[in-house]
Amino acid sequence: MAVEDIGSGCSSSGDQEFHVLAVDDSIIDRKVIERLLKISCCKVTAVDSGSRALQYLGIDGERSSLEFDELKVNLIITDYSMPGMTGYELLKKIKGSTKLRQIPVVIMSSENILARIDRCLEEGAEDFLMKPVQLSDVERLRDFMLRGGEEERELGRKRKTPDDSCDCRPLRKRPTPLATACSSTFRALEEPVIVHES
């Protein structure tokens, strides 16, 4: 078969599909993340800004609660650097909303700035992915969300120890150079790690 085995293929799990809201101002990155998520059997809605994401989520109060339940978003994955509202600002708005704060948020960034990563994780981001995002990142994320994420949310926020079958990089911890290297050996060395963001 021409296609490499990237997983067991999308089987209909009967109930709703895993719905991801992807937020990125770059049309190229939106196309790629959308494809990564679809291959990983997720339903995807891609928007180009934080404000559009909030509109979609109904945070501005325009959407009725019935509509909101039908559109149920299971995960939000957002770029950090966006004009207008940054991914961090979007994260804060989501975590500050009683309606939306349960939705896990993952931040993507091309810049390996420790202070930025810490700030996002402290604000409640589920994970912080380095761009360009790989298929293995998305698959790991999806597996974590489907398997452990729900458990985690029910029990409240506590550190989750990595499963044996998971990638060695634990989620909700600041990615260490070793952990980053596990997901992609060449990416960790690409740019120097910046400790303090100016």
Binding site: A2, E4, S26, I28, P83, K131, P132, Q134, F186
Partner: protein, 153 residues
């Protein structure tokens, strides 16, 4: 050697040289993995978006650097975007040029920025040309009834 075989060899040799000379990196290989029978033109579509976006950015950069008072933050924002998109498709030399460019933006070094823009234009059109050649070879192979060889890292 029959036509398909010749074309396939050309394709493999050309691809190998693109990776070897640093025009493309691992990320381009990652994009190939996202292409399949259900999305047979995925890579070409992404790269076309990149071409459109890049040419807009290059124009914006030229305009921004021609202003009486150059807004280096704005210039940096454009370069940052270009760095992101080139990184997303694996255009390594373009990406590296953007990294150097950002340093000059930070220093508010206009001459440095202008030189970088020139080099960035050069690198971009080079890789554009290479990718168009690659896509052309792929089309020729398929039209001749063959399959495009899969390049692995």
């Amino acid at each position: 050697m029959e036509i398909v075989g010749q074309l396939q060899k050309q394709f493999v040799d050309f691809s190998t040289s693109l990776y070897g000379e640093g025009f493309l990196d691992e990320q381009y290989l990652q994009l190939q993995k996202l292409q399949d029978e259900s999305n047979p033109d995925f890579v070409c579509e992404v790269v076309s978006l990149f071409f459109d976006d890049s040419e807009k950015l290059l124009n914006n950069l030229a305009t921004a650097l021609q202003q009486q008072v150059v807004d280096f933050k704005q210039v940096d924002a454009h370069v940052h975007q270009f760095k992101g998109s080139s990184s997303s498709i694996g255009a390594q030399r373009v990406k590296n040029m953007c990294v150097a460019f950002r340093n000059f933006c930070e220093e508010k070094n206009l001459d440095g920025c202008l030189r970088c823009l020139q080099q960035l234009n050069h690198e971009y059109f080079l890789v554009k040309n290479k990718l168009e050649t690659l896509f052309r070879l792929e089309r020729q192979i398929v039209e001749a009834g063959g399959t495009v060889p899969v390049i692995v890292a």
